[in-house]
């Protein structure tokens, strides 16, 4: 477990450039994520947040620059070493990405069975715990993803991401599509896991409330790079027009004022 207050980097992205054909998504992008922090990545739609996440977890090879995770360059490892690294992180994709031919419980058990040779009963117990932690009712375990609502799919995706107690979890818009009560429980769960397990969280989100409630630092993606990074209050003071609009628009203000009066009813604009 990490000692509070150390700034040991777990993800280091340097001079990253990614592109699809001629379409350059990131150019000369730098980002450092420290151990045991929750970093929120924000940015407009299509600015490449999901692609950045994919570049870090080894699904989108950069065309220039380096990505180091746990101090190692994933793309230079042998497949066997890559698997060893992969089991140290958990990923929740934007669309849930559950295996549609497995039930929710089987989905959560899949990484457990694959990476840890555990007795079936114990694996099922662990899966049940993760499912319950992500806020799904127990009867969801035996259901297939196609029988779940969009929000429930997200939660199941989270349960699967947490299955192996990873050191880093990557969450792509975890609270989009959740009801506000569910989203708040989700925020609390993330913070609590971070504290008790020393989790590092890389979270792409548009949800200002989640940003306020959970994130230690915020990175803003625009113009193909990280234009600002730091504690929320610092980033908010930046005078980049997008940041101003993002945090000072009606929604940004509402989320802020709700926080200021500590959970009391937010005033309507």
């Amino acid at each position: 477990m990490a000692i509070e207050g150390t700034f040991e980097p777990v993800i280091e992205v340097e001079g990253l450039r990614t592109q699809f054909g001629d379409n350059i998504i990131h150019d000369n992008l730098d980002l450092v994520v420290r151990r045991n922090e929750i970093i929120g990545v924000v940015g407009g739609s299509g600015t490449g947040k999901s692609v950045l996440m994919r570049a870090i977890i080894g699904l989108k090879r950069p065309s220039a620059g380096t990505v180091r995770i746990f101090g190692e360059n994933f793309y230079e490892k042998t497949p066997r070493e890559q698997i060893e690294i992969e089991r140290r992180w958990g990923v929740m994709f934007q669309g849930g990405a559950l295996f549609s031919s497995l039930t929710v419980a089987q989905n959560v058990m899949a990484p457990i069975n694959e990476h840890l040779k555990l007795p079936r009963g114990l694996a099922a117990d662990i899966a049940a715990m993760k499912i319950s932690m992500s806020g799904l009712p127990p009867d969801a375990g035996a259901k297939f993803p196609s029988e779940l609502s969009g929000g429930m799919n997200k939660r199941a995706g989270l349960a699967r991401a947490l299955a192996l107690d990873p050191e880093i979890v990557f969450l792509d818009e975890p609270t989009a599509g959740l009801d506000p009560i569910g989203a708040e429980k989700f925020d609390r769960l993330i913070v609590s896991l971070k504290e008790s397990l020393g989790l590092t969280v890389f979270m792409v989100t548009h949800d200002l409330d989640t940003l306020h409630a959970t994130c230690d630092r915020v990175a803003v993606l625009a113009e193909k790079r990280v234009i600002a990074i730091g504690a929320l209050d610092e980033v908010r003071r930046s005078d980049h027009p997008w940041i101003q609009e993002y945090f000072s628009g009606p929604r940004g203000r509402a989320a802020l004022s709700a926080k200021a009066i500590d959970g009391g009813p937010a005033e309507k604009d």
């Binding site: 477990m1 295996f99 549609s100 031919s101 039930t103 419980a105 089987q106 058990m109 457990i112 990476h115 840890l116 040779k117 555990l118 007795p119 009963g121 114990l122 099922a124 117990d125 662990i126 899966a127 049940a128 715990m129 993760k130 499912i131 319950s132 932690m133 127990p138 009867d139 969801a140 375990g141 035996a142 259901k143 297939f144 993803p145 196609s146 029988e147 947490l162 192996l164 107690d165 609590s192 896991l193 504290e195 008790s196 397990l197």
Partner: protein, 376 residues
């Protein structure tokens, strides 16, 4: 890093479990069975779990400890976990409300019942599928009538696209297969007919079998495998991604937009494929005849003209659009029936090919009887 371990001792009727090592998920496998036995034995007894010497611990470890604790009777406060650091305490607290097991799979019932159930379902399904396909044919035809009243609604671009995809792109493979079949028929036929000194009848053999049956059947089989399955897969994927629902919600008729262009394209193009298959097949036969026997191409063509009635050729061509219709309809129907999972898509694609081949062969048998009766 030490794997998880524990010892149990009894003092004054009080069970005391001392846990050591790292209680991480990957170490818990060997302990689980013993711990479950302990749980069964310790029901109704007081249990103290001492974790002051424990190393690292993750949610799985915390869950197992809590599970052991909760499985004994906790009416008194004597049962508890002691020696936890603040971080461990927090983890145990996080885990505590989430211990209830959940079902992993939908409940299974009695195996014999399931089997009879499946059998019955299979039989009924055969019946319902037949009705539903008829229903689907009716739906497609009425949609076609409606569209024809306002021909502007015919999606020409889409039709042409599918003609290229399912028709023109299939020509090389259909031609090649047909050539081979024609050659094989000529070769085998010649070998046997030679025994009767009747080698020249190879021409009739090739002419009738290829023109009447093999050409069109080969085309149908390849189209069912290539395009019938592709129809199912593409429409099925759209179904999974809710694109079909989106079409409906936009006021577009999926039958009109998806099924009709594919069906029309196939029905129009299949005779062309069948024609080509027949001609190339005959050429295959002719090439073998010239190469392996003393039947010159000129003689082959001459005898073909003399002995093979034109009706053989027409029989082959007449069947083509019917086969095409069946293949397109079944392919699209199965696509529309895809539900939710990738698995269902796979099953439906298989079903689409199997069913369309089955129906094509049945239809072919009916055609054979029909043409026999009317002496064509």
């Amino acid at each position: 890093m030490q794997p998880a371990a524990y010892t149990v001792d009894v003092k004054d009727g009080l069970l005391r479990l001392v846990a050591t090592g790292d209680w991480l998920a990957r170490h818990l496998g060997p302990l689980d069975a013993d711990l479950r036995n302990l749980e069964d034995d310790s029901v109704g007894r007081e249990l103290i779990i001492d974790i002051s010497n424990i190393g690292r611990i993750d949610t799985a470890g915390a869950m197992v400890l809590e599970r052991v604790l909760q499985s004994c009777d906790r009416r008194t406060d004597l049962s508890k976990i002691v020696g936890a650091t603040a971080a461990h305490q927090k983890l145990l607290q996080d885990v505590r409300p989430h211990l209830a097991p959940c079902e992993v799979e939908p409940a299974h019932r009695n195996a014999f019942l399931m089997m009879t159930n499946r059998l019955g379902k299979g039989v009924l399904e055969g019946y319902y599928v037949a009705i539903e396909i008829l229903n689907f044919i009716g739906l497609t035809l009425t949609t076609l009538l409606r569209v024809l009243q306002d021909p502007k609604r015919l999606r020409v671009t889409s039709i042409v696209y599918h003609m290229e995809e399912a028709g023109i792109d299939a020509m090389p493979i259909v031609g090649l297969m047909s050539f081979m079949i024609g050659a094989v028929v000529a070769f085998m036929g010649a070998k046997i007919l030679r025994l009767f000194n009747a080698e020249v009848f190879t021409v009739e053999l090739v002419g009738i079998s290829v023109l009447r049956e093999f050409g069109v059947l080969l085309a149908a089989i390849l189209v069912a495998g290539r395009s019938g399955s592709a129809f199912t897969a593409s429409i099925g994927t759209m179904k999974i991604r809710e694109e079909i629902d989106a079409l409906r919600a936009l006021g577009l008729d999926p039958i009109e937009v998806l099924v009709l262009p594919r069906t029309i394209a196939l029905v129009v193009f299949m005779p062309i494929l069948a024609f080509m298959a027949a001609i190339v097949g005959v050429i295959g036969g002719g090439v073998v005849a010239a190469a392996a026997m003393e039947i010159s191409p000129a003689f082959f063509v001459g005898r073909l003209q003399e002995t093979i009635a034109m009706s053989n050729f027409w029989v082959g061509l007449i069947k083509a659009p019917f086969f095409a219709f069946v293949i397109a309809i079944i392919g699209c129907y199965q696509g529309m029936e895809v539900e939710g999972s990738a698995e269902s898509l796979g099953q439906r694609t298989t079903l689409s090919v199997v069913q369309s081949l089955f129906v094509v062969i049945i239809l072919d048998a009916f055609f054979a009887m029909f043409f026999l009766e009317i002496d064509f």
